[in-house]
């Protein structure tokens, strides 16, 4: 299953990639592969913007606008004027999510 096409904010800077393969290890959707000792993006539409690759790339070769793909969280963010949040970090018990 894939979500909307051509919306993922994932960016890859091949010049910074050393081919360590960490992105391949952490990506839950098999977005990356290793070709000629460098990472390549196989299918950007599979990216769910979890941020695992960017956060674990020690060389800054990946960038993604990380966030939750949750409508309730995004709506909460619009209402409260802040970041999308589904408030399940224990602060509020009025709404349950994810």
């Amino acid at each position: 299953m894939k979500y909307l096409s051509k919306v993922a904010s994932l960016e890859f800077f091949p010049d910074l990639c050393v081919g360590c393969g960490m992105c391949i290890e952490v990506c839950p959707h098999g977005v990356f592969a290793l070709e000629n000792k460098k990472a390549v993006i196989l299918d950007k539409d599979r990216c769910m913007e979890c941020g695992a690759c960017a956060g674990n790339c020690a060389f800054g070769a990946l960038k993604v606008d990380k966030g939750v793909g949750c409508a309730a969280a995004v709506i909460n963010g619009i209402i409260s004027g802040g970041e999308p949040s589904c408030d399940c970090s224990g602060k509020s018990k009025t709404r349950d999510c994810c």
């Binding site: 290890e25 839950p28 599979r46 619009i78 994810c98």
Partner: protein
């Protein structure tokens, strides 16, 4: 292993109380079967076997709005008979996550490090950062992990990766983060393969059964919070007569719409998620609308309730209920394993104005109907 010895439950309550004040405050849970004495203090020993009461808690976790209370105290636990070279596996302090891990560790000797994720599962907590680099470094430090084991590797579930920077953990705490498989059940195979996960172990699927289980958390809030309000409004609209509010009118006139409301909830919160890959288009709002429209058409055509229905109400039916189903289906993006924020934002940008417009027009239609009913025109 020479410095380790096992102690029966209860015998070391004082020793554990000093390092775990919160744990001693409540009765020790049944899955703690003893205490493992180490040079660094007493470590609770946990059972890899899940009991009936564990499974009952899982049912409640999946359905109840009080699932925030199914937490495990953060800290270090022992499973089997771990020693200085045993693996350390990291988990969240959500009971379901913790139970999945200890069940998967049956037959292994390992350490389990539970982070304080406020009772949230690994993946969601990693997204929020509570299952994060700082929390992992903090737990490594307070449990004196560097003195408990001789090696310097720590197995973090792969779905914890959004919150963790492996290179920063290494720099700050000296431990090398090895990302384990996505599913706890693959852990023994991963360890046996010398910390290598297959592509399949690294990938998240979203099978039928997972989608079905997760619909419970969609249906529950929709029925508890939104549906009663909707039902009240419908009953008020149909019961409202020039001479007051009549219960009989409310019920007779409102019943088809109460049923349609229920159908919309089921269409958006159950049918759309379950049939997700089979409903055309990638947008959840569109999928939900299609499912909703289909059910509305079927209901109107094949149930007697809608025979000779007022045209204005029929237009309202075709307008409002597919949109309700669409909105509810859109909420399921939060439960899926593959929707990203950019996509959700794009969907909302288009759909929210349409929902608002739909509600406004629906209310105008109902008003129009009421005016007609009261024969003012």
């Amino acid at each position: 292993m020479a410095e380790l010895k096992f102690v029966k439950p209860g015998a070391q309550e004082k020793a554990s109380a000093c390092c775990r004040p919160t744990q001693s405050a409540v009765q020790s849970p049944a899955w703690i079967t003893g205490t493992l004495m180490t040079a660094e203090g007493a470590i609770p020993l946990i059972s890899p076997d899940l009991t009936r009461s564990d499974y009952w808690e899982h049912v409640k976790c999946r359905t109840s709005a009080f699932r925030n209370s199914y937490v495990v105290n953060p800290g270090l636990y022992a499973i089997g008979a771990p020693g200085k070279n045993s693996d350390i596996l990291v988990s969240a302090n959500y009971k379901l996550s913790f139970d999945a891990l200890r069940k998967a560790l049956k037959g292994l000797n390992a350490w389990v490090l539970v982070l304080d994720t406020k009772g949230i599962n690994v993946w969601c907590a990693a997204g929020k950062g509570t299952f994060g680099t700082d929390e992992l470094i903090r737990l490594i430090s307070i449990t004196k992990l560097d003195r408990i084991v001789d090696h310097r590797r720590i197995i973090v579930p792969q779905l914890g990766a959004p919150g963790i920077s492996a290179h920063e953990v290494k720099k700050a705490a000296g431990f090398k983060v090895c990302y384990g498989p996505v599913r706890a059940e693959d852990i023994s195979a991963y360890i046996a393969a010398e910390y290598k996960a297959t592509r399949e172990m690294r990938t998240v699927a979203f099978p039928f059964i997972d989608r079905l289980i997760l619909t419970l958390m969609e249906i529950n809030p929709a029925m508890k919070k939104r549906y009663p309000l909707y039902a009240l409004i419908i009953l008020a609209i149909f019961g409202l007569q020039p001479k007051g509010i009549f219960f009989r009118d409310a019920l007779v006139g409102g019943l088809p719409f109460l049923v349609l409301g229920l159908i919309s909830v089921l269409s958006g919160a159950l049918i759309t998620p379950v049939l997700l890959p089979f409903i055309p288009f990638r947008s959840f709002a569109v999928k939900g609308w299609i499912a909703g429209m289909l059910f509305v058409i079927l209901s109107v055509k094949f149930t007697a309730m809608f025979n000779q229905m007022n045209t204005v109400l029929l237009i309202f039916t075709y307008l409002f209920f597919p949109l309700a189903s669409s909105y509810i289906a859109l909420q399921f993006t939060g439960a899926t394993t593959f929707t990203g924020m950019s996509g959700v934002k794009k969907e909302l940008k288009i759909s929210i104005p349409l929902y608002i417009l739909g509600i406004v027009v629906s209310l105008i239609l109902l008003l129009f109907y009421k005016i007609g009913e009261w024969r003012f025109i």
